[in-house]
């Protein structure tokens, strides 16, 4: 599929907007063409309002919005070429899947007459539903077999695929996703997450994905913006955001975590071997290929002597930092890897354990965690 590399760059300059309880205050944002950008924030942070403003459904009180080289601040949504997928999909309930997907194509193909007398549009839409482009998009989303069903007869995951197909069939410059995974059960969520990644790689469309789920943001986003009360707290790569939170709010929202990119190879016994820069970690997951690995600091055990073998994952490292926080102390242990720099693991240790271990920066220590304590996503 032909696609110019930098099309779909979006820029917001000092956008200000108030809508009921939600407000966006002088927000500036730069999203590169073809980027997968995640807006991360708690419920009520103004994420949906911001998304709908980008789509042109709300007009900002001040500020400007640019799409590629054009200022689109005052353009109506139908002129922008920006697609939207909502959390609960918002499919047209009266039409079949094929007609839902065909709607945008019928809109593109309509005549001046059909524009003036839109009640005549049904025939054009049904004709468009037989279009090859619709079939191709249904194939791309693996929902060809659902073409003649109505939305009432679809599962949550199927509905989201239809909503994605409907938005993508017109080749939008930017695709806006408003919590697209949060209405799904964990298995469907994982499936659709993979699907989103694949579609983005295949189509190269700029994606702005709104979520409150940090793992989702890490798994999908090339960059993340953390949003709080209509303002951006921090923008950066997922790694930068969780390694170096810019504000206390980001630190608290993101939490202290051990998250590392890894490569997963499932084994026969339901466990998978994960390679983290040459370190090998064992964890239960059916996933394969590029993933992320997370271990809660509370689940990591430290010891002065080599650990008992009941822990599947044990490593030796060097203490680099001790950070007391309330009842717990966060101990950073750098584990050397054969490939690159040492991986910093953070372990949460109680005051008593800390006393027993008598740890000091620079000292050697062993750390371990159970396979079941590893979260893979």
């Amino acid at each position: 599929m032909p696609h110019a590399t930098n099309a779909g760059a979006l820029r917001l300059e000092e956008v200000r907007l108030r809508l009921g309880a939600f407000q966006v205050q002088g927000l500036s944002l730069d999203v590169a063409g073809g980027e997968y950008f995640v807006l991360l924030g708690p419920t009520g942070a103004g994420k949906t309002v911001l998304l709908e403003t980008i789509a042109g459904l709300h007009r900002p009180e001040s500020g400007r919005i640019w799409l590629d080289e054009e200022e689109i601040t005052r353009w109506p949504p139908e002129r922008r070429g920006i697609g939207v997928v909502y959390q609960d999909d918002a499919l047209f309930p009266q039409w079949t899947v094929a007609e839902n997907v065909a709607f945008g194509l019928a809109m593109q193909a309509r005549s001046r007459w059909q524009r003036a007398f839109p009640w005549l549009g049904g025939r054009a839409r049904r004709a468009a539903a037989r279009d090859e482009a619709v079939r191709e998009m249904l194939r791309l989303l693996r929902i060809e077999h659902l073409a003649h069903r109505t939305p009432a007869h679809l599962s949550g995951g199927e509905r989201q695929r239809v909503a994605l197909a409907r938005a993508l069939v017109v080749r939008p410059k930017v695709l806006l996703l408003d919590e697209p995974l949060s209405a799904l059960d964990p298995q469907r969520r994982e499936d659709l997450r993979q699907e989103l990644r694949r579609l983005h790689q295949q189509l190269g469309t700029t994606v702005i994905h709104v979520t409150h789920d940090f793992e989702e943001a890490v798994a999908l986003g090339q960059r993340i913006a953390v949003l709080r009360q209509g303002q951006i707290e921090q923008v950066g790569t997922p790694e930068a955001v969780f390694r170096h939170p810019a504000t206390p709010f980001v630190a608290e929202f993101v939490g202290t975590r051990n998250i590392f990119p890894a490569w997963a190879e499932p084994r026969e016994d339901g466990l998978a071997v994960l390679r983290l820069q040459g370190l090998t970690v064992v964890a239960p997951t059916p996933l394969r290929g590029p993933v992320h690995v997370a271990v809660r600091p509370e689940d990591i055990v430290l010891s002065r002597v080599a650990l008992a073998s009941s822990l599947r994952n044990t490593f030796a490292g060097q203490v680099t930092a001790l950070e007391p926080r309330g009842a717990l102390t966060y101990v950073t242990v750098a584990v050397p890897t054969p490939q690159a720099a040492a991986l910093p693991f953070v372990a949460a240790v109680t005051a008593r354990a800390l006393d027993d271990l008598a740890l000091q920066p620079g000292e050697q220590v062993f750390l371990g965690f159970k396979a079941s304590g590893v979260h893979v996503f």
Binding site: G56, P77, R80, Y86, F103, G104, M107, W119, R125, V170
Partner: protein, 258 residues
């Protein structure tokens, strides 16, 4: 879920059902089919029935054209004075209909400014079909506007938002998304309004005693000749109304299956 209250409550409610059903049934049963046929064959009766149906249909069409856009605005937009507008729509339901007739006469009569303006165009309201139509419109438009408003309110605004992002203008999103989804409510509003218009007496009789609509004809025959003479016409009108009412309900239910 079973509930011990259902039976006594149903017994009490049955009194109401009886109260509505029995008089209607009695009236219908009191006249022989032959007599009804003869009555319908009377030119005065046939004309009155046709006029009633046509005038109410005309009033409904006017309300459809003017009231559906208003219903859409009431469902979608928030603006100062919205509660006032909604109250105005409901007002004719509480005003006695004879008083409504007087009020219409003040504006649309020969001495009213609007009445004079229309007279210049050759349209008369007093003792004329347009008078019957506006009387029916006035007393029944709330049924259609409120049903249509509820219909539009039940349509997720994000469906129209998605349609916009896919290239539809607001006008197209209204026709292709909002209206088809609200149509079931609008159609039931149409039926209620039309049926309400058919039965209007008070407002109509003040603006236009002649030409005679069916309710006025029944009243006139009762006043001038008594119950026995008025009954066949009443029976006929009840039967035709019931037939059309159930027909339209059936049609509207069928239309919403798709």
């Amino acid at each position: 879920m079973s509930n011990r209250l259902y039976v006594p409550f149903a017994v009490v409610g049955a009194a109401l059902i009886w109260f509505v059903g029995w008089p209607l049934l009695r009236t219908v049963g009191a006249s022989s089919p032959r007599l009804l046929w003869q009555t319908l064959a009377e030119p005065q009766v046939g004309d009155a029935v046709l006029l009633t149906f046509a005038a109410s249909a005309a009033a409904t069409v006017v309300a459809l054209v003017l009231g559906v856009p208003l219903a859409y605005v009431l469902a979608r937009a928030d603006f100062p004075g919205k509660a006032f507008v909604e109250a105005v729509i409901d007002l004719p339901v509480v005003v006695p209909h004879s008083a409504a007739g007087i009020a219409l006469l003040m504006v649309f009569g020969r001495s009213g400014a609007v009445g004079r303006a229309f007279a210049a165009l050759g349209v008369r309201f007093v003792s004329a079909v347009p008078g019957i139509v506006i009387a029916m419109l006035f007393v029944s438009l709330a049924f259609l506007v409120n049903a249509a408003r509820d219909g539009f309110r039940s349509v997720d605004p994000r469906l129209e938002a998605v349609a916009r992002t896919l290239g539809a203008t607001p006008w197209e999103a209204f026709w292709q998304v909002a209206l088809p989804l609200a149509w079931r409510n609008i159609l039931s509003g149409v039926i209620m309004m039309w049926a309400r218009g058919l039965s209007e007496f008070g407002a109509v009789v003040i603006l236009a005693y002649h030409p005679m609509v069916a309710p006025v004809l029944i009243f006139e025959r009762f006043e001038s000749y008594g119950l026995a003479y008025a009954r066949p016409v009443a029976t006929l009108v009840i039967l035709i109304s019931l037939f059309v009412f159930f027909l339209l309900r059936w049609v509207s239910r069928d239309a919403t299956r798709h």
